[in-house]
Amino acid sequence: MSAREEILGWIRSAVAGAPVPEVSREYARTVDHDVVDLFAERVSDYRATVRRLGWDGLALAISEELEAAGVGVLAVPADVPPDWLGVTDAVLRRDVPPLSTMDLDGCGGVLTGCALAIAETGTIVLDSGVAQGKRALTLVPDVHVCVVGADQIVGSVPEAIERLDPARPLTWISGPSATSDIEMDRVEGVHGPRTLTVLVVG
C-alpha cells in the first residue's frame, strides 16, 4: 500500500466519531482608532522610520531618505511610477530584464509600493502587484523604502486577509529584519533589510 493510502487509512480509523465543533468567530474584525495614525505609531514601535506626507512631497522625501541611508544604487520594480524618481540622483537598476540575485546584492536599496498595510500590527503586505516586483527585490538589498498610500491601510488582520489574493506570493513585513534569539530580546538587523523606511502618503 502506498504511504498516502496507509496514512489516510490510519487517520480515518483514528478520528471516526470525533466531534466536529462549529467555529465561533466572535473576535474583533475592525479597530476603533484612526487607522493612519495607528499604523504610523505601530510601525515606529518596530524601530522603522515613518514619515507622513502629501503626494506632492513624495519625490523629494524619497530622495532624502535614500541619501540619509547612503543608497547609491537603487533597485526598482519594472513598473515603479516615474514621478517617485523625479528628485533622487541614485543610480537606478530596473528589474527589466530581471535582475539576478547577484545584481541585487550590488544594490544598496530598493524602492517599492505595497498591496496593503495593517494598522493594528504595523504591517506592510507585498503581493508582487503594482510597483512591487518579485520577492527577491525587497529581500537582498539592505535598505527598503516603501510607499504606502493612506487609502491602502486597513485596521485589522481579518480585514487584510479578506482583501488579499492567496494565489499570489505574499510577504508580510513588520519592521526591519530582527531576531529574538539572543537572550530573547529583539535586536534589529539580521538577513533581511536592516533599514526599513515607510512613507505614508495622502
Binding site: 496507509e6 493594528e120 506570493p169 539580521v190 533589510p193
Partner: protein
C-alpha cells in the same frame, strides 16, 4: 522512528544534572522572564484574546475531525498551483524523499529554515550520512549547530546560551569571524549575516517546514523574524517543505486567527518581522520547483487518543515553555526530546507510543500540574488533563510489561494503604517519620529517602514532619485519648 534522543537519560536523572548548572538557570530565568513580560503586554492589549483562543481551538478540532478530507484538498490545490505532494509514514521515509529530491537537483548542500519537523526526523543527520551538507540559517539554530549542541527550546533553540557564550562559539567555530567581535547582540547578528550571506545567494536547494498549510488554497505559511526564511523560500531553485499532517487548516480565513495568536504568544510581538505565504510556484518569482512532504511519524497515533489528540492543536509558539516553573529550572535538554517543556511532555510520548522508551515514558511526570501552561496556550490545550491521562497510560504500560520499573511506586502505595488503614500503625509511622525528619531535615525539607519512599523523594523534596503530630498534640493538651 525517532523523537527522543538516543542515549539520553530519563527526565528525573537529566533534570538533577541540569539543576546543578547554575549558569543555565540564570540564562533561562533571564530569557523566559523577558519573553513572559513581552507576551503579557501584547496579549493584554487585545480585548478579544479569549475569543481568538476559542476560535483557534475550534478550527483545529474541526480540522482534526476531518483531517483526511482536508489533506486531500490541500494535495489537490498544491498540485494545481504547480507543486508536488509526497507522503511520508515515518522519519526514514521523509528523509529518503528529501535526499532523493536533493540529489535529483544535483546539489550536495542545502540551506535550511528552522523547522521542528525536520529536527524531529533528524534530517540533518540523514543528509550528512548521504553526503549532503545541511546549513542551518536561523541564528539560534546556527548557534546550536556551531556549538555541536542540541536545541533546548522550540522557538529559541539556543536559549540556554547567553551572549558571552555565543561570542565564544562564534569566535571558535566561524572561519570568517570578524576580528574583535564583542558580545553585543547587534554585532553577533551582523557576524551571522556575513557568515551565511554567500550560502543564501548561491544555494540551489532549500528545506523548510511550515507553520500552516491552507487546504482551500494550497498555500503554505512560514512565520519568521530574521529574513533567513525569506532567503531560503525565495532564492534557491528547488524548495522542499516538510510539514506535519496536523499543520493543515481548512480555510484561507482561518489565517486571520492564527496570524494573531502565534506572534503574540511566541515572541511577544504584535506581528513577527516576516511572514511568507506561497502557493505552488510562480514563474519568474521564487523557486521553479516546490515539493511538499506530508509527515505522519506518529501523529496518527496521537490522533487515535481522544484526550491526547488535543496536543495536535499545537502551533509551536512555546508560550507553555516560557511560563513553566519546571522548564525554567531544568531547561530543555533534560526532556531528551526536540519537543521540550509542557507540550513536549504530552507530545513526545504520543508520537513515540506509550511505554516505547524510558525517556518518553518519564515525560508525563515532568510537571507539577500547576496549570500555567493551560492558561498561556493560545489554542486552549488542557496540558494538565493530558498529562494526568498519559501518566495513567504510562503506568498501565509498565504494568503490562510486568517489569520492576513502576512497581516501586505501587509498593509504596500498598505500604501506605496498610499504614493508613490502622490508627496504631499510622501513629507509629508518624513518630518514625518525625524522628527520621530530625535526622534528614535540611532547612525544614527532606531530600532523599530510601526505597520505596525514594519513588516520591527522587523527584521532589518533602517538608520535614513536625516533631509532634497533630494527634500527639491533641492527646497531650486535651488529655484523655479518644
Amino acid at each position: 522512528m525517532t523523537g527522543t534522543w538516543i542515549g539520553m537519560p530519563a527526565f528525573p536523572v537529566a533534570a538533577r544534572k541540569a539543576l546543578a548548572d547554575s549558569q543555565l538557570r540564570v540564562n533561562l530565568r533571564n530569557a523566559t522572564g523577558t519573553i513572559r513580560a513581552r507576551r503579557e503586554a501584547v496579549v493584554a492589549e487585545k480585548p478579544d484574546w479569549e475569543a481568538l483562543r476559542q476560535a483557534g481551538k475550534e478550527i483545529k478540532d474541526r480540522t482534526i475531525a476531518n483531517l483526511d478530507e482536508h489533506l486531500l484538498e490541500l494535495e489537490r490545490n498544491v498540485a494545481m498551483a504547480g507543486g508536488t505532494v509526497h507522503w511520508a509514514r515515518d522519519a526514514a521515509e521523509a528523509n529518503r524523499i528529501v535526499i532523493d529530491l536533493t540529489r535529483r537537483a544535483g546539489a550536495s548542500e542545502v540551506v535550511k529554515v528552522k523547522s521542528m519537523a525536520t529536527q524531529e526526523i533528524e534530517l540533518n543527520e540523514a543528509l550528512a550520512d548521504a553526503g549532503i551538507a545541511a546549513y542551518e540559517t536561523d541564528l539560534a539554530e546556527l548557534i546550536v549547530q556551531l556549538g555541536h549542541d542540541k536545541p533546548s527550546h522550540i522557538l529559541v533553540p539556543a536559549i540556554h546560551r547567553n551572549r558571552a557564550e555565543i561570542r565564544e562559539i562564534f569566535a571558535r567555530e566561524m572561519p570568517d569571524v570578524p576580528a574583535g567581535l564583542t558580545d553585543s547582540p547587534a554585532e553577533l547578528a551582523a557576524a551571522a549575516r556575513a557568515h551565511l550571506r554567500r550560502k543564501f545567494l548561491s544555494a540551489k536547494v532549500a528545506v523548510s517546514g511550515a507553520n500552516f498549510a491552507v487546504a482551500e488554497t494550497g498555500s503554505l505559511v512560514v512565520v519568521e523574524s530574521e529574513g533567513n526564511g525569506r532567503m531560503c523560500l525565495t532564492l534557491p531553485e528547488v524548495l522542499i517543505s516538510v510539514v506535519g499532517i496536523e499543520k493543515v487548516v481548512p480555510a484561507w480565513q482561518d489565517l486571520e486567527v492564527f496570524l494573531q495568536l502565534l506572534p503574540r504568544s511566541s515572541t511577544g510581538e504584535r506581528m513577527n518581522p516576516y511572514t511568507s505565504i506561497w502557493s505552488g510556484v510562480t514563474p519568474g518569482d521564487g523557486p521553479r520547483e516546490f515539493h511538499l512532504v506530508l509527515l505522519d511519524n506518529g501523529r496518527t497515533n496521537a490522533l487515535a487518543d481522544e484526550v491526547g489528540r488535543q496536543a495536535l492543536r499545537c502551533i509551536r509558539c512555546s508560550a507553555c515553555l516560557n511560563v513553566c516553573p519546571v522548564y525554567e529550572r531544568t531547561g530543555g535538554h533534560a526532556y531528551g526530546s526536540v519537543y521540550p517543556g509542557p507540550i513536549g511532555a504530552i507530545l513526545t510520548p504520543q508520537l513515540r507510543g506509550a511505554g516505547a522508551d524510558p525517556v518518553a515514558a518519564s515525560l508525563p511526570f515532568a510537571s507539577s500540574l500547576c496549570g500555567a501552561c493551560f492558561e498561556a496556550c493560545p489554542v486552549l490545550i488542557d496540558i494538565p488533563e493530558a498529562l494526568v491521562h498519559l501518566r495513567a497510560e504510562a503506568v498501565d504500560a509498565q504494568r503490562r510489561k510486568g517489569s520492576g520499573k513502576g512497581v516501586g511506586e505501587r509498593l509504596a502505595m500498598r505500604a501506605a494503604g496498610w499504614v493508613f488503614s490502622s490508627r496504631r500503625r499510622f501513629e507509629a509511622a508518624q513518630r518514625g517519620a518525625a524522628l527520621g525528619g530530625r535526622v534528614l531535615g535540611r532547612r525544614g525539607r527532606i531530600g532523599r529517602l530510601p526505597w520505596p519512599l525514594s519513588k516520591w523523594t527522587d523527584a521532589r523534596d518533602a517538608p520535614a514532619p513536625p516533631p509532634e503530630s497533630f494527634r500527639e498534640w491533641w492527646r497531650r493538651t486535651r488529655g484523655t485519648g479518644e
